[in-house]
């Protein structure tokens, strides 16, 4: 599966405190000509790789700002240029839901999208439009969005970004989030701050581990009630059930599987790598998707596994469900991809301080 993190627009109607797409860049939107070119490229890629599929994740910015007509054009391009390959293109979308309407839902149905990824923040003034981040307005629009999704039988799941301001009341926030989303689940992810932490929202790995640790005993006791909460679910699946369900940052296998395509056609390894301009695979206007997906720079992410296993991660008991973490996090600290990440420490702390003592489980050697 080739996963395209597709950001045809960097524009957003929200000013979320932890998003640097809006802060760092002058928002751009992809032209229809370039969109057309990308569908031709996907067709070429899939024809060359008859066993391969593409997952196209519409991301942003806020993709619904593109408008319904833009998506209708995408459907038209897919119909025109991917006649024999369209069944191997899986669309997905990340949206803040605040602009959702029934016309978009019809479009999503045509794209076979039945599940939408989003995020939510109950702490006031962290998410929302304008300088003051009007979270009351934003969240009421969000609620209308989820009502519309549920009315039309769409699934939804969300990410909660743990910031400094969330640290005071972990369990209460957990209750809030699980009360909001009774079925399915959500993810508790640490905030990612690249560069200066102007808003003072960043958290340390220890703080993240302790935040999870404040919730975990309750979750573990009542896990039948809240089965889908990650990273708890992910740790249980990996450690107890021996499944490998790591997120992309922990698989150690992103090298040839992911690509970011931005509004000007710029290509990079993934969304974060593109946002933070850490690695460039050129531009899809000049290079085919096939070329981009086999760019030689990707080899370093394969080599990274060997380097880590003989270096930073040698003998680490958690390698199988961590793989040294996301290479980009290594870059933030070390200016290269070849180290384990500072986030490993958070995982190790959580596992050793909370997970193993509370569950009574021991890791098999």
């Amino acid at each position: 599966m080739a996963t395209i993190i597709f950001k045809p627009t960097e524009k957003c109607n929200s000013n979320c405190i932890y998003c640097d797409v809006v802060v760092k860049k002058k928002p751009k939107t992809m032209s229809l000509e370039l969109l057309e070119h990308i569908f031709k490229n996907m067709d070429e890629f899939l024809k060359a790789k008859p066993k391969e599929r593409i997952q196209l994740i519409w991301h942003g910015g806020e993709p619904l700002l593109l408008g319904e007509d833009y998506f209708l054009k995408a459907i038209e391009f897919q119909e025109n240029y991917c006649k024999n390959t369209k069944n191997r293109i899986d669309h997905a979308i990340q949206s803040n839901l605040t602009l959702l309407n029934e016309r978009f839902l019809d479009i999503f149905k045509r794209l076979n999208i039945n599940q939408i990824g989003t995020s939510f923040e109950p702490i006031p003034n962290l998410r929302g439009p304008g300088e003051k981040r009007d979270s009351v307005y934003y969240n009421s629009q969000f609620m209308k969005g989820i009502n519309m999704l549920e009315k039309h039988n769409f699934g939804w799941g969300f990410i909660y970004v743990v910031t400094k301001r969330a640290l005071r009341r972990p369990l209460e926030l957990f209750f809030f989030l699980s009360n909001l989303k009774l079925s399915g689940g959500f993810m508790l992810n640490p905030v990612l701050v690249y560069g200066e932490d102007k808003e003072k929202i960043g958290i340390t790995e220890e703080e993240y581990a302790d935040y999870l640790g404040a919730i975990f005993p309750y979750w573990w006791k009542n896990r039948d009630r809240y089965p889908q909460v990650s990273p708890f679910k992910m740790f249980v699946e990996n450690i107890i059930e021996k499944k490998r369900t790591n997120g992309c940052e922990d698989t150690g296998a992103c090298a040839y599987g992911h690509v970011y395509i931005g509004p000007s056609g710029e290509a990079s390894q993934c969304g974060r790598a593109g946002d933070w301009e850490m690695i460039s695979y050129g531009n899809i206007s000049d290079r085919s998707l096939l070329d981009i997906m086999s760019d030689q720079q990707r080899e370093q992410f394969i080599k990274r596994n060997d380097i880590l296993l003989n270096g930073d991660c040698k003998g680490c008991p958690y390698w199988e469900f961590c793989h040294g973490g996301c290479p980009l996090d290594s870059f933030i600290k070390n200016k290269d991809f070849m180290h384990r990440t500072f986030r490993c420490e958070g995982k190790r702390l959580f596992l050793e301080k909370y997970f193993f003592p509370i569950t009574g489980i021991r890791l098999e050697k």
Binding site: P122, N139, L173, F175, N222, D224, R225
Partner: protein, 290 residues
């Protein structure tokens, strides 16, 4: 969407206009039971339940054999003496009734315990929310859900436990015909509201029986069924409570002076989980069938 059950005060003309609807009819006099049932039958209105507010004791109710089969919810002040009640127990158990007592009178908690143990279907309804003795509510719930000795279902605990699904909200107000997903309230002028309180306060969502056909497209109805989301727009309050999913903020005002609701509903939710797990355990083994 399932058709709503309409809740109304008895009004002869209104009943005549509710052809083929299901209704809960509120009456204040036991003598009206038969005439109301006859009219409903004559004009082909389905009776979901009769709801009777009785300003007296249960013992003073003129239970009668002719009520057999008629679904009745009786809201009474107190139980009255056992002496008066005992002789009529076989008849009461034979009727299709559920008797509710008010939480304002502490003796009612004992009465409900006794009635349930005697096999009478009964329930608690919440009066002055600021003065609820939550420890007594909890004791009653513990008996209702965990009690091993045979007893009749006690509401709203039994409803919560038997309808509980960790993946959904469970609204125990259905026991009192107050859940807009199932019940809508209507007056004789055909004003429609999402609750009896809204009807009393003239906070209507629609007008006219015909409007019920398109009620799912009605914005005010949509707001009413999603009213719980208002709790999620506040920086604190009931949405942050562990037990939200079985309470839905029903005591959000009274919790400011009476915090007992939270520990009660936390225990209630545990009881629901227990009830659910017992149901799973008691599932009979199913061998393949030819």
């Amino acid at each position: 969407m399932r058709e709503h059950i309409l809740v109304c005060q008895y009004h002869e003309n209104l009943i005549n206009r509710l052809h083929h609807k299901q209704v809960v009819v509120k009456i204040s006099d036991f003598e009206k039971i038969h005439p109301v049932c006859k009219q409903l039958n004559d004009v082909q209105v389905g009776l979901h339940c009769l709801m009777i507010q009785h300003n007296g004791s249960i013992a003073s109710i003129p239970f009668h054999e002719s009520w057999k089969g008629i679904p009745i919810a009786i809201y009474a002040n107190e139980m009255g003496t056992m002496k008066e009640l005992m002789g009529r127990l076989p008849l009461i158990r034979d009727l299709n009734i559920r008797i509710f007592l008010n939480s304002d009178l502490e003796a009612n908690f004992t009465s409900l315990h006794i009635m349930a143990s005697l096999g009478i279907e009964c329930g608690l309804y919440f009066g002055n929310k600021e003065k609820i003795n939550w420890e007594l509510v909890n004791d009653l719930m513990t008996y209702a859900i965990y009690g091993k000795v045979n007893h009749a279902p006690l509401e709203p605990f039994y409803h919560l436990a038997s309808h509980y699904n960790p993946e959904q909200h469970t609204d125990f107000n259905s026991v009192y015909f107050e859940n807009p997903l199932t019940y809508l309230h209507i007056d004789h002028e055909e004003n429609i509201a999402a609750s009896s309180e809204d009807l009393d306060n003239k906070k209507f969502i629609a007008k006219g029986i015909d409007s019920l056909e398109r009620i799912s497209e009605n914005n005010k109805y949509d707001e009413a069924i999603h009213a719980w989301q208002q709790f999620f727009l506040k920086p604190d309050g009931c949405a942050y409570c562990q037990a939200w999913r079985v309470c839905l903020g029903k005591f959000s005002e009274s919790v400011k002076v009476n915090e007992g609701c939270k520990p009660f509903f936390v225990d209630m939710m545990e009881a629901c989980d227990h009830f659910l797990s017992m149901q799973h355990k008691n599932k009979k083994k199913e061998v393949w069938q030819p």
